[in-house]
Subunit: 155 residues, 2 copies
């Protein structure tokens, strides 16, 4: 898929990362887990699947590897800017799990490092300076996609 | 998994919806696609897989079905409040795809229905009233999970 425009950006995203293992690998990289063996143990994932997912993430420029040992070569894996840009997606998925599966007690609280206040993620309108609820979301096709319907608006 | 607290809310979320087909079905429901045949055609998904995913989503109270025809019974599928609460996650996944795969021209623009301004999704600190960048995110374990590391903070 590369960087070719598609008819739906959610589909583009899922093509790149829409796999349970891939998302858990990304979660661990955000946590600072960097090495193959650490990832394998932490996730309980088969080596061949982990290798495959890491290779696909590197090919998509979502992660990059840096050797930490030369003989034999061993790599650490880091998020690229494109990978770090998935932070809002993982936060949104995490907060939904907090609201619906944490029994009122989120396992982890993400905070603003400088003041320790729990983070809030909002969808808002910069024009009206208000938070926009799902039912207030509309949509229109982008300039080059006048034929397409909204993926998440118009509920 | 039900509503049992787990060690990671991202994992809880992925257990419920962390499947490419499931996320595409949810996208279509947000778009207003309601019927089995419409979903099957739009997604090009096998009937048995679509049935399985719809059943799992209903069991998780993310969607509900309402008959629109009685003989034979045919259902339409709707998002529950829990399902609609996935809107921020789908918006985040969509915006990432817009930024990295849309070639500078997002297929769809989500807007504030009342003023047509494109939506902005931000992670912010209500205490400092500022947007929080990924590198400014820290984390701490929740009360009942003092042993656990951050899933997305501490980059």
């Amino acid at each position: 898929m590369g960087n070719q425009p598609t008819h739906c950006s959610i589909e583009s995203t899922l093509t790149a990362i829409g796999d349970r293992w891939t998302l858990l690998i990304l979660r661990d990289l955000f946590r600072g887990v960097r090495r193959f063996e650490q990832l394998r143990r932490d996730l309980g994932i088969a080596k061949n699947i982990l290798s495959d997912r890491l290779q696909k993430l590197a090919e998509a420029n979502i992660i990059l590897s840096r050797p930490y040992q030369s003989n034999p070569v061993r790599n650490e894996y880091y998020l690229t800017d494109k990978g770090k840009d998935l932070s809002p997606s993982l936060i949104a998925l995490m907060h939904w799990g907090d609201r619906w599966y944490a029994g009122g007690s989120p396992p982890t609280i993400l905070t603003h490092a400088t003041c320790d206040t729990p983070l809030t993620q909002i969808t808002h309108c910069v024009e009206c300076s208000i938070e926009v609820k799902p039912e207030e979301i509309s949509s229109r096709p982008g300039k080059r996609h006048m034929h397409f319907k909204s993926p998440v608006g118009n509920q």
